[in-house]
Subunit: 393 residues, 2 copies
């Protein structure tokens, strides 16, 4: 077994879990936030910075990496860990989400998908088996099978069909899976109907995976619906296996999901906001492009140990962002990852000390009820369009 | 006196000088290469990285900083050193070069220049006095006066007029100069005629500045002509004052200029090449975008101690650059500055050990006769268009 999951403590009042996920490249304390390194790099940052920020595991994307630079190149380099200089736990997303967001999706059948590569226009075919083969070449510790992703709202017939195909592909992925040092997770899809989600969970659990992901959420539905579906799915997942909510990572949504038993998260939010000059803080987000920061000599967050807060004022960071200087996105992205690292640690500590219910109420109130994080295509690129938690500060 | 310059040693055979330039923010060993931080940031890098790369002094641009974020904002932040977190020697260019490269230059008279701001379109007036006033707000250790820059070829009448105005502005700049902790350098212009250049040097030296810059070179003229003009000007400059060749910094041109007695250099080349994925090496430049590096698992330069060479293959760096990932420009820029830092140290050592003649012959042969570096607007943005030294690898 490539991974081993230990639940160290379950919060008495809420059921939130603190655990350890042992992988061939090290142990991850859960709940864990995974920064996204789509192309084998967390945007603008070195692996050392990502690790120092508190990140324990990074996500990379099979779809993007297979198109460029190609899985063979990465395999020849000794695998993705070595290629990207991250000798720590690594997860590869299958690319299902990306494929189903493509403008030039050619065909989808039980066999797989065909599309034109957004890199060079050539026609590419991906099947459940081919994805597992590519992921074996990349060599991540945790790998995701090809799945069918729907947007919101989803037609019930389409949701049923997507679920059927996702389970079919999960079964075939499992059969194609060879590397004993890689853990293949199952993905629960099923649209926005709680009973179909429950059925999907049961069918995927019946295939017996070492961990389960919940996909297809935070794609435009109301947050309340997302939390209800999370709770419905959570009841059907075995407590002994890690649970990964895909594409969600805003602080309030993460906390709400931990309350419903989720252990792992990934989201582009911290780095995408960082690139546009929006900093995460305990009292909401700061859009440093705003004129109010032009002469503000305070750091983003007093007491934050990150380089952006130790050495630079909001005025300087604003100047960098306004002038289009790369150091701006770099420093704000780093701050945001340090913020997420601190948030994870606070969550884990509150669970272990059986005070997660009170802590989470206070934290959510402080952060605001905010934005659900969301999958890459759905997170607003400009911070100005974010509402709630993200718009404050 | 804001600065003090000591010539420690003059190479017996060539006249190349090794010295120390003492400034209020520390001492610079010369010959010295100054990385360019136009907007108060050396592109993509932190001040710590720039310093660790071996850079002792950084150049920022008065013109750009006065338009954005504005000199008042920087003054309120405690000056540019504090604002940009570089508490080391700092030089501000006046912006003459930038003003005379503007598409919307409105008028030039003895009074000064008027132009539309490229940031927000408002009309801006700059005079010799106003530039000194802005530079006093920025607070750099060495400041440059407003000058008139010409391209190549220059009409002799225009060159004479540009020279006359540059000297007029130098005199008025000196009169306006107040801060005793800032050293105002004189700039020798005069186009491409050696006798006018000599006359310009004599007139500027007569004004008695603590250091002299040679401007208006490497703007399209043949390298041989540039070296001849450098030698002509050098004969008229006092040996006791530092000599700064503006906008030049390719390795062969730097070495040729040191042979002619130059002590200081600035150039965007290392960071601009870095941003486009071209790495400087002792055997010429490597354009990492080239297909030949797709599966190349070697570092840019074996034995180089920079993070790019210690941790990453050419194949990975190429992937980052091709995928438009910021970490690529960041790592290659850092490598290039580390390369320049090593080159400076080698130059200084060879001079102190009286073997600069032989060392420089060998180094120039190895690097190739290459590109002269050049001012910002003249350096080819894409490394593919560079010739000689830069095109190798």
């Amino acid at each position: 077994m490539a991974i081993r999951f230990e639940v160290l403590h379950t919060d008495r009042e809420t059921g939130a879990r603190a655990g350890l996920l042992h992988t061939p490249h090290g142990t991850v304390e859960t709940p864990a936030f995974m920064p996204v390194g789509t192309h084998g790099t967390v945007r603008a940052l070195t692996p050392e910075e990502v690790h120092d920020a508190g990140a324990q595991i990074v996500l990379a994307n099979t779809f993007h990496l297979s198109l460029r630079p190609g899985a063979e190149t990465i395999a020849r380099a000794g695998g993705l860990h070595t290629f990207m200089h991250w000798e720590r736990p690594l997860l590869t997303d299958s690319g299902g989400y990306q494929v189903f967001s493509l403008p030039h999706l050619r065909s989808v059948s039980d066999e797989g998908v065909r599309f034109r590569s957004p890199v060079d226009g050539r026609e590419v075919a991906l099947s459940a088996e081919r994805v597992i083969e590519i992921e074996a070449q990349l060599g991540a510790d945790i790998i995701m099978p090809l799945d069918v992703c729907l947007g919101y709202p989803a037609d019930p017939a389409a949701a049923l069909e997507a679920h059927r195909r996702t389970v079919l592909w999960a079964r075939r992925s499992k059969r194609a899976h060879r590397r004993v040092d890689q853990a293949l997770f199952g993905i629960v899809q099923g649209g926005f109907d709680a009973s179909l989600r429950r059925q999907a969970a049961d069918e995927v659990v019946a295939l017996d995976f070492p961990g389960y992901a919940i996909g297809g959420l935070s794609v435009g539905e109301a947050k309340g619906l997302m939390y209800d579906l999370l709770a419905a799915v959570g009841e059907r997942l075995p407590a002994s296996r890690p649970r990964y909510l895909m594409g969600v990572g805003s602080p309030p949504s993460m906390i709400e999901a931990v309350l419903r038993g989720v252990d792992m998260f990934d989201c582009v939010l911290p780095t995408r906001l960082g690139r546009t000059g929006t900093a995460l803080t305990g009292r909401g987000a700061q859009n440093l492009r705003q004129a109010q920061y032009a002469d503000d000599l305070e750091p983003i967050e007093e007491g934050c140990p990150c380089p952006a807060c130790r050495h630079y004022s909001r005025a300087y960071l604003r100047h960098l962002v306004k002038a289009g200087e790369m150091l701006g996105p770099r420093l704000v992205s780093l701050h945001n990852l340090v913020f997420m690292g601190r948030l994870e640690r606070q969550i884990r500590l509150a669970i272990r000390e059986d005070r997660f219910a009170a802590w989470s109420r206070e934290a959510i109130a402080r952060y605001g009820s905010g934005h659900a994080g969301g999958n890459p295509a759905h997170v607003a690129e400009a911070s100005g369009t974010l509402s709630g938690w993200e718009a404050r500060g």
